[in-house]
Each structure stands twice: as structure tokens, then as C-alpha cells.
């Protein structure tokens, strides 16, 4: 039996300090966000700020208990904990209550619990346990598949609860796997896929294919052949593309077939000298065709598969509003132009109607939320409007001010100084966790540490990104700050298990 003093002495107090700062910031900003003049005591438990204080108190108790528990417990019981959480995720699908369209809550009397929150640390533990086992190498296909299953199971169950936001969090584990040896190409590929996705939506598939072909010729030509051939090919390619635009061959099918034909012609020109090494040639063509397919499927998926509300989440980000306004203006001019037939006029009118409809959707739904959120943060200025003096959040212009959009209150009342401070605290926390993870002697602790940092980072990325218009509107909480018991406790457990593991890093070799 080790003494308390011993336990506390080994704890990394800097992380605890950062944690305490964050929960305190959360508490006073929840107070500001839902401030009610009739209940102005910050301890009033009939209000969210009072309740949050209770959750904080409980969270501290939980943290303390975790620090008392032998770290061996977490390594030994990682898999059972994981199994229990998976069961509860299944259970919530059967017996849970629905809130905001997601069936993700257990209701026990007046008390609500969200098992998906606890799935995060359970999955982290399970993954750490699995990857720290002997003879596990990331290179093995079996390892990759099993790791994917460990991560994927809770993700799928949460997706079934219709909680898309929480599901996406599991994408964060890619950083963990990367650190443990997953090919960097997969990380790169993921980033590229997202990039191509966004660019396609902005510029349209044809432009992206043409650009991709261009890039392909440069890379492929330079890698395999010489500058001269590449140059000639590029000039030929550009000339053809130019001619193709010049003669305004607009019909879509023609567009694509010509783009494809162009590409193969160019590839043939470059490769005819080196027909010997056919395999590279074929791989190149296959990759290109797959890319084209991906690009077109984005277009298709976006317009046909995604639901309206999901689509607006993305279009809002892409500045679609200004685009739509512009398009409507152009159409108006076309409509009022002389010398067009009645049918054409009607067609333009229908078009304007459809565009106006989308614009309305955009402005009143998520578009409005993003706009109000930006106004709240933007109006804070450098020093902010002052504590409790925020108008955007106080008067309910910003939705979910105490939970997902809590960052708006901070931005509005504390200004750039406040948001800068908060971002720095978070980054310091993440980097500190990474640093501690790297100094672990056990793989288990390191994997778990990376999982903690990645999950917190992903929440930070999406939540703040959403409020400042850099990420789509996905409702996930800001760690330690957003109102809510389940999320606060789950993040606390997540973090303090790691603190506990770190405190005993020298004692136990797992």
C-alpha cells in the first residue's frame, strides 16, 4: 500500500493545472451563457451553472478515485471495460431515450447518461491493450484489421444511434495508429481525399479532373522520363484543353469523354518510348481512373446521397451563400434580357425559384447558426465585451450556447485575448500529453496517451472549427468546457487514467 503522498507526488501537476483551468473557464462561461437574472448566484443548482458545478465536483471525486486505483487495474480490465461499454451501446439502442433525433441516452430517474461518451476511454484502453500485446506489429494485415474492428465496433454502434458527430470522433484514432507504425500514406491519403472532396465541391468535377491530370502528367513524367518529354506533353495537353474551352464544347458527356481521351493520348505520348515497363504505366492509369471515379462519386454522393441538412452543413462552409446570391442575380439579368422564348423564360424562372429555396434553407438553418456564431465571436473584438455583457449569446442568437457553441460566449465576452489564451491552453495540454506519452516505458501507456491526445484534439478541431466557420456544423462538445455531466466525466476519466498511468510509469513495466 503506497501512501497518498506518494501517489500525489508522482502526478504530472502541469496537466492537472491545465485541466483545472479548463473546467473553471467552462464553469464561468456556462454561467455567462445561460445567465439568468432571477437566479444570479453562480451556485444556484436550479440553473445549468449550478449543475455544472455539481458535475465538476463529481468529476473531481472521480479523478481522485482514479488516482487511488492501481494502474494495473486499467491494463487488466481494459477488455472487460470495453465489453461492458459495447453492451451498454447496444442497450441504449434498445432502451435509450431519444434527444434531438439521437437515441443515445439512458434515463435513470431524473438523471441522464450518455454511454457513447464513455466508449471513448474504453476504446482507447482496448486499443492500447491490443497494440501493447507481444508480437503485434502494425505491418501485419491482421493487426490492422483487428485494430480497425476495435475502433469500428463502437463507432458503428454510435452511428446507429444516429449520433454522427460522436461517430466521427473515432477517426481521431488514425493518429494513434500512425504513431504505432501505420503507413504515413494512409494519413496523407486521408488528408488528400478530404482536400479533393472540398475542392471538387467548390470548383466542380471537370476542373478538378483536368487539374489532377495536369498534376499527374508532371509527377509521372518527371519521375519516369525527362524534362523535355514532360514539357512537350504539357504543352500539347494545355493546347488541347484550351481549344476545348475555346470552342465551348459544353455538353457534359462530351466534356468527360474529351477529358478522358486527352489524358490517354498524353499518357501514350509520354510512355510509348518506355513500353517495356508496362506495369508502372498500368498502375498510373488505374490510379487515375480511380481518382476520376472518386471525383465523380463526390458530386453524385453530395447531391443524391447526402440529406439536405448534411448538405447545408458543408455548403455553408463553402461560402455557397454569396455564390447563390450571385447566381440568382445573373439569372435575373438573363430572364429580363430581350429575345428569349417563353419556355426559356419559364425555365430560368424555375431555376431562380429553386436557388432561392436553397438560399432560404441556407440562411435559416445551419447557415444562420454559423453566421450568428461568427457575429458573436467577431463582435468580441480584441478585449471582448466583458463578463456577462455578451449580447449575442445572452439573447439566444447563438444556438446551444452552453454546450456545443460555448466557444462563442468566450469569444464574445473575452475577445481575442480570451480565445488566444484558450487555444494556447488546449495546445499546451495536447503537446504535454504527447510529451508524457513519449516518455512512457510501456507501449500500453503510450498508445493510451496518444489516444487521449487525439480524441481531445479532434473535439477541439471540430468544435472550435465549427464556431469560426472552418469546419462543418457537427455537434460535439468542447472538452472540459461544454455543459454536461456525461461529457465532463468521460473526458475526466480519459485524462486521469493517463495521469495515473504516467505517475506509475517507473514502477510498473507493462
Amino acid at each position: 500500500m503506497r501512501s497518498y503522498k506518494n501517489i500525489l507526488g508522482k502526478i504530472d501537476w502541469s496537466i492537472v493545472l491545465l485541466y483545472l483551468i479548463l473546467i473553471f473557464v467552462g464553469w464561468i462561461n456556462i454561467y455567462a451563457a445561460v445567465y439568468n437574472e432571477d437566479h444570479h448566484s453562480i451556485f444556484d443548482i436550479s440553473q445549468r451553472y449550478g449543475k455544472q458545478l455539481m458535475w465538476i465536483g463529481l468529476a473531481l471525486v472521480i479523478a481522485f478515485v482514479i488516482l487511488l486505483v492501481d494502474s494495473q487495474f486499467f491494463t487488466s480490465f481494459a477488455i472487460p471495460i470495453y465489453a461492458i461499454v459495447l453492451l451498454s451501446l447496444v442497450g441504449v439502442l434498445l432502451f435509450g431515450v431519444e434527444t434531438n433525433g439521437a437515441r443515445s441516452w439512458f434515463k435513470l430517474g431524473g438523471f441522464k447518461l450518455q454511454p457513447s461518451e464513455f466508449a471513448k476511454f474504453a476504446t482507447s484502453l482496448a486499443l492500447a491493450k491490443y497494440l501493447s500485446a507481444l508480437n503485434i506489429k502494425m505491418k501485419d494485415v491482421k493487426t490492422k484489421v483487428l485494430a480497425a474492428v476495435i475502433i469500428g465496433l463502437p463507432a458503428v454502434l454510435i452511428l446507429l444511434q444516429n449520433d454522427t458527430g460522436s461517430t466521427l470522433v473515432y477517426a481521431a484514432f488514425i493518429f494513434v495508429l500512425y504513431r504505432e507504425g501505420l503507413s504515413g500514406n494512409i494519413l496523407l491519403f486521408g488528408i488528400l481525399a478530404i482536400l479533393v472532396f472540398v475542392l471538387t465541391l467548390i470548383f466542380g468535377p471537370v476542373n478538378i479532373i483536368l487539374t489532377a491530370a495536369f498534376a499527374y502528367i508532371i509527377i509521372y513524367g518527371l519521375l519516369k522520363y525527362d524534362v523535355k518529354t514532360t514539357f512537350i506533353a504539357l504543352v500539347a495537353y494545355s493546347g488541347l484543353v484550351y481549344a476545348f474551352f475555346y470552342f465551348e464544347l459544353i455538353s457534359n458527356i462530351l466534356y468527360y469523354s474529351i477529358a478522358g481521351g486527352l489524358f490517354f493520348l498524353v499518357v501514350y505520348l509520354i510512355t510509348r518510348k518506355e513500353m517495356r515497363d508496362k506495369s508502372i504505366h498500368y498502375i498510373g492509369v488505374v490510379i487515375f481512373v480511380l481518382t476520376c471515379f472518386y471525383i465523380f462519386s463526390i458530386d453524385f454522393a453530395f447531391n443524391k446521397v447526402l440529406k439536405e441538412h448534411q448538405r447545408t452543413r458543408i455548403t455553408v462552409l463553402l461560402g455557397e451563400e454569396e455564390k447563390l446570391v450571385e447566381q440568382i442575380e445573373t439569372l435575373k439579368i438573363a430572364r429580363d434580357a430581350e429575345g428569349i422564348s417563353k419556355e426559356e423564360k419559364q425555365k430560368i424562372r424555375d431555376d431562380i425559384g429553386a436557388k432561392r429555396f436553397s438560399l432560404r434553407e441556407l440562411r435559416q438553418g445551419n447557415g444562420w447558426n454559423i453566421k450568428q456564431s461568427l457575429i458573436a465571436i467577431g463582435s468580441g473584438g480584441f478585449t471582448g465585451k466583458g463578463f456577462l455583457d455578451g449580447t449575442q449569446t445572452k439573447f439566444n442568437f447563438v444556438p446551444e450556447q452552453s454546450t456545443d457553441f460555448i466557444f462563442c460566449t468566450i469569444g464574445e465576452e473575452w475577445g481575442f485575448l480570451g480565445t488566444f489564451f484558450l487555444v494556447c491552453i488546449y495546445i499546451a495540454l495536447f503537446l504535454r500529453i504527447l510529451f508524457l506519452a513519449e516518455r512512457q516505458r510501456s507501449i500500453f501507456s503510450r498508445v493510451y496517451g496518444y489516444a487521449v491526445a487525439s480524441i481531445l484534439f479532434f473535439h477541439f478541431l471540430i468544435n472550435i472549427g465549427m464556431t469560426i466557420g472552418l469546419a462543418p456544423v457537427i455537434g460535439i462538445p468542447l472538452p472540459f468546457i461544454s455543459y454536461g455531466g456525461s461529457s465532463l466525466w468521460s473526458f475526466t476519466i480519459l485524462l486521469f487514467i493517463f495521469i495515473k498511468l504516467d505517475s506509475e510509469r517507473l514502477l510498473v513495466l507493462r
Binding site: G378, G381, F395, L431
Partner: protein
């Protein structure tokens, strides 16, 4: 590959995201200003504090116009809950269909913004409704003020107020949609003083437009300043009496205090109760009034151009004497071949000609004025004469807008050389062409106010002050300079006294045409009748007078359309007005006349 180097890549990704966020935040919060104004726009609402409009009093301190609270029932559709439609209909005393119509309209306007549900609830039903209203969330009562006219009189003078129209909003930034503005009368002329100054209260609202308290504790709010109190020159008792006398007639009465130019009463008949054009009633009453063939909205005293008729002979006499073309004892035979006349002895003096209103006499006077042998050609001579004449006539305030304080006043018309040159051609007209001007007919056009002003000029022995309604503006305690200025007509007093002798005769001497204008024995009235020929029907009855002869207190002009001779109808009305004003009562002799006048039977004139 050394996997531990990957910690840097993960760390760098975290750091880069943090830096991107900070750059974005710096952009949004510090560099870009647009969010700040949008945030203000979101939450700041300016609530206008409407000042009470200024009160209007008469010269004796009687209240003419005040404000009365009116109650509008407002609705905020968003807050309407568990509505017992039937009970509310009963409370508001409206039908269910009407109710649903109003409800739909309000919802259509906005679910979050209040709109008027029922306008101007009477104070009795207000008390009732207010008690019950707590049962109907989403409904509330808003107070505003309406103009009230306790004396129900002087509608043309006081004017009315109404909501501003779009062009006013565009031209005058003070006004906002829904504001009230003086549309006519004194309400129009003294709009800027009467309206006071609006205050602005800045309040904060939430996303549902609900009030959330004041902005910076009201530091930037301004208070409403109540409108200035206006004291008018009007004698409301006299005004009411004038309206009584003109009841059922067409025409006007204008009474002026000669020394000051203060208008004591100005009646235009037919008239209407000013309360008819207040608030909700406007919609109903305005079309009725504006479509009335007798045109009650038309202020005849300022806007009707009439030929002055024989009262204009006093002007001709004064100009003739001043020009030296006649003397006080000039005599002209009543030669009816020159111009028609009634039977009377030959006028052997100017005074006698005024008393008997001899038309041929003034034919000769005017001929002498125009043809003074300044040129050989009678055409040229007439031209030179007319130029002198019209210049002199204009000094009496004729042919020009008297700068009084009511809008839409007409100038009337005094023909000049240019006019006839255009009409007939230069050198193609002479006195004989335009002689009807000599007896106030022809191209002359005069408004009743100018006639009363003429009477005031004679009473003042040669000058006038622009007739006006403002006696005092509270807070400024003065009246505009233009109403204090003396306008001289440049006629010697002795000549005016000659005319006054004649005007005395008109009322008191045998052969005088207006013996019905006599009043109380202590009050000496001087007057002049006129019978303006009317080609469209019965002649107009005209009379101007002032009293007492020495130190006159009142100058008056009465114009009764289609009533016949001036002596029979206009004169007794003027007499009654004078008596009422000077003695505050009506003598027995005049009571009889009053009775006749109130009967409106033009065939039987009042007794002498």
C-alpha cells in the same frame, strides 16, 4: 523507419491547427469590423418616446385642442397560447369572423413583432378589457394619444393631423413611418413647435425580439420634449357664434382686431366638427367630407376668390382722392346709361356716393383715375393710369398672398397692364374696355380675408398688420416679426376719414344700404355693402364693417354666397358678430334678426 520521429509530425499537426485557429480568430475578432455592427444590429432596438403634442388655446385661455389617451390592443402572435376565442370575441365586442381575419393578418405580418389588433378602444371597454387581459397571453394594450377638440369648432383653422406619407419621410428625415404630422391649418403651420421633440430609448432585445432591458442603463437615451403650447388670437365664443350664424349657408366670416391684425374669428361655411378627422374616424369621415358637393373641407375664407363687388368702391374713392382726380365734394349724376344702378338721389359727395353705392359715380371716378391725360392716346393713357392704379390697389394687400399663418392661402387677383396686353393686345384696350373694375367686378379676385383686411385698413386709417392667428408661443413668448410689421397703404388719413363718413352713412343715414348692421346704440358701426354679381345664380351678399368708429376693436367681412343684396344678409350677420364681440351679448333688436338669419330663408330678409 524510426517511428518515434512521428511524434513530431503529430505534434506539428496539433500545433498547425492551433496556429490556423489563432490566425482565423485574429482575423474575425480584430481585423474584421463587420461583425461588431451586425451584433449591434441584432440586439439594439430604438424605441421612440413620443412627446405629447402641444396644446392650443384661444385668446381668452379657452382650450381648443388637447390630447386624449387612446388604447390600441396589440398582439404578439408568438406568445398567444390556449386562446379562448369566443370569450375574447365577447370581451372585445367583435365577431368571430372578424377576429380570425385580424388574427391571420397579424400572424402574416410577423410572429415575433407586435402589431395592432384593435385600434382605439374606448376608455370604458379599456377598463373592462384590461381586467381580463391576463387570461390572454400575447395580447397587450398600448397607449397613444389622439387630438381632441372640446369646442367642436374652428376646424378649418386648427386643421388636422395624420400619418406621414412616403414623400415626407423621404424629404424630412425627422419623420418615420407611422408618425403623425400636421396636415392642414395651424397643426400644419406650427408643426415643428407643436410636435415637440422625440426621445429615443435604446433597448436590448433577444432573438425573439423580446425586451431585455436598456442599453448601457439608458446612458445614451434621450427624453421626449413635449410640444410647445400655442395661444391663438381666436375668440372661440365669437367663432362659435359665427359658425352658428353661417349654419346652412355657404360663405365666410372673417373678423380681425384692426390694430394688431389678430384674427378673432374665421368661419368658412359649410364647416365640420374637427373631431371627425381624428384617429380611426378619419377613414370613415374623410371620404364623406371630400366627396360632399358643398366642399366643407375647402376653406373659403382663404381659398375662395370672389369679385369684391361694391365694397371695393371705398378703395376707388380713396385712390381717386389721393390721386387728386376727385375731391371730397365731387358730384356725378347717376347716369344709368354708363352702368346699371338702383334708384337713389344724386350723390353730391364722396361720402354720399359710398353711402348710396352709386355705380355711375364710380364709373366716373375710375375713368378719371385711369385717364389722367398723361398721354395723347387714350389707350396709352389708360395703360399709364392702370399701372398706377394696380400698384396702389396691391398696397391694400390685394392680389398677393397675405403671409398669414395658415397654409394654402390664395392671392386673389388684381389685373395689371401686362394682363390686359396679353388679353386684348397692346394698345387695344382702354378704360372703356375694363370699366367694370370700377365697381369691383370684372377681373378682380379677392379672398374674404383680404376684404376683412380692407376693413381693418380703413379702421386703422391707413395701415394693416398681416392678419394672423398666433398670439403667443409659450417658451418663445413672442410672435414672428412679420406679424408685427406695419404695412402702410400710402393714402392720406383725411381721405380715409371721408370714406369712413360714407361708411357711417351706410349704416346710420337714410338711404344707407346697411341699416340692418346697426347694433347696440353705444356702438357706432361703419360698413359697406356689396352685391357681387354672380353669372351662375343668385348674387353673393357682401358686407364689410368695423366698430366702433373711433378706436375700432373689430373689423369684419361677411360673404354669403347666393344670398342676394349685401344689406339684407351679410350686414345683419356682421352686426350680430360685432355686437357679440364688443358687448358679449345680443340685444333684443338683434335677437329678432338672429332668428331670421338662423332660418336660412333668403327670400325674407331680417327686419331693420
Amino acid at each position: 523507419m524510426n517511428l518515434s520521429s512521428r511524434k513530431f509530425i503529430v505534434g506539428i499537426i496539433f500545433l498547425v491547427v492551433g496556429i490556423i485557429f489563432i490566425i482565423r480568430l485574429f482575423n474575425v475578432q480584430v481585423l474584421d469590423d463587420k461583425y461588431k455592427s451586425e451584433s449591434d444590429h441584432n440586439v439594439l432596438r430604438e424605441v421612440i418616446q413620443y412627446p405629447a403634442r402641444g396644446l392650443i388655446y384661444d385668446r381668452t385661455g379657452e382650450l381648443l385642442v388637447y390630447n386624449e389617451a387612446a388604447y390600441d390592443l396589440m398582439i404578439l402572435p408568438k406568445q398567444v397560447k390556449e386562446l379562448d376565442t369566443l370569450a375574447l370575441c365577447e370581451l372585445l365586442e367583435i365577431g368571430k369572423k372578424d377576429f380570425l381575419e385580424k388574427f391571420t393578418k397579424a400572424k402574416k405580418y410577423s410572429r415575433y413583432k407586435p402589431s395592432t389588433f384593435l385600434k382605439e378602444i374606448s376608455s370604458v371597454s379599456y377598463a373592462n378589457i384590461q381586467e381580463q387581459l391576463y387570461r390572454y397571453p400575447g395580447f397587450f394594450v398600448q397607449t397613444r394619444t389622439l387630438r381632441k377638440y372640446p369646442r367642436k369648432s374652428a376646424a378649418h383653422i386648427l386643421g388636422y393631423i395624420g400619418e406621414v406619407n412616403q414623400s415626407v419621410i423621404e424629404e424630412r428625415p425627422y419623420y418615420k413611418s407611422g408618425d403623425y404630422i400636421g396636415k392642414s391649418g395651424l397643426e400644419y403651420s406650427y408643426e415643428e413647435m407643436l410636435r415637440g421633440t422625440r426621445g429615443v430609448k435604446r433597448i436590448l432585445v433577444d432573438v425573439h425580439n423580446r425586451e431585455k432591458g436598456s442599453y448601457r442603463d439608458g446612458a445614451k437615451d434621450t427624453m421626449a420634449v413635449t410640444g410647445t403650447v400655442l395661444h391663438t388670437t381666436l375668440d372661440i365664443v365669437l367663432q362659435e357664434y359665427g359658425e352658428l350664424l353661417m349654419k346652412g349657408k355657404k360663405g365666410s366670416i372673417v373678423a380681425i382686431e384692426p390694430k394688431t391684425g389678430e384674427i378673432l374669428s374665421l368661419v368658412s361655411a359649410p364647416y365640420y366638427d374637427p373631431n371627425m378627422l381624428v384617429g380611426r374616424a378619419v377613414g370613415k369621415n374623410y371620404p364623406v367630407l371630400s366627396k360632399d358637393t358643398l366642399n366643407p373641407l375647402f376653406n373659403r375664407a382663404l381659398m375662395a376668390k370672389y369679385p369684391p363687388g361694391s365694397i371695393f368702391k371705398t378703395v376707388q374713392a380713396m385712390i381717386g382722392l389721393q390721386e387728386g382726380v376727385i375731391s371730397e365734394n365731387s358730384s356725378f349724376a347717376c347716369n344709368k346709361s354708363l352702368v346699371g344702378c338702383h334708384n337713389h338721389p344724386t350723390a353730391s359727395s364722396v361720402a354720399a356716393s359710398v353711402k348710396m353705392s352709386c355705380n355711375p359715380y364710380y364709373y366716373n371716378v375710375y375713368k378719371r383715375i385711369l385717364q389722367q391725360k398723361r398721354a395723347k392716346s387714350i389707350f396709352k393713357d389708360s395703360e399709364l393710369g392702370l399701372a398706377i392704379w394696380s400698384k396702389q390697389v396691391k398696397k391694400f394687400g390685394f392680389g398677393q398672398r397675405l403671409a398669414t399663418d395658415l397654409p394654402n392661402i390664395k392671392a386673389g387677383y388684381v389685373p395689371d397692364v401686362g394682363f390686359y396686353n396679353r388679353w386684348y393686345g397692346e394698345g387695344r384696350w382702354a378704360f372703356s374696355t375694363i370699366y367694370s373694375l370700377s365697381i369691383g367686378q370684372g377681373e378682380m379676385g379677392v379672398i374674404p380675408l383680404q376684404m376683412a383686411n380692407l376693413s381693418a385698413i380703413i379702421a386703422n386709417r391707413g395701415y394693416y398688420r398681416v392678419p394672423h392667428f398666433v398670439k403667443n408661443i409659450e417658451g418663445i413668448d413672442t410672435i414672428p416679426q412679420k406679424f408685427k410689421e406695419k404695412h402702410s397703404i400710402d393714402i392720406d388719413e383725411k381721405y380715409i376719414n371721408t370714406v369712413i363718413d360714407g361708411m357711417y352713412g351706410v349704416v346710420y343715414e337714410p338711404g344707407g344700404t346697411a341699416r340692418r348692421a346697426r347694433v347696440h346704440d353705444d356702438v357706432v358701426v361703419c360698413g359697406k355693402t356689396g352685391t357681387a354679381q354672380n353669372p351662375h345664380g343668385e348674387d353673393h351678399s357682401v358686407f364689410m364693417a368695423f366698430a366702433p368708429r373711433d378706436n375700432p376693436q373689430i373689423a369684419i367681412a361677411v360673404y354669403v354666397e347666393n344670398a342676394g343684396g349685401g344689406g339684407s344678409w351679410a350686414a345683419p350677420i356682421a352686426g350680430l358678430m360685432i355686437e357679440q364681440y364688443l358687448t358679449d351679448s345680443i340685444s333684443t333688436r338683434n335677437k329678432k334678426r338672429e332668428e331670421y338669419i338662423l332660418k336660412n330663408n333668403y327670400k325674407i330678409p331680417p327686419p331693420y
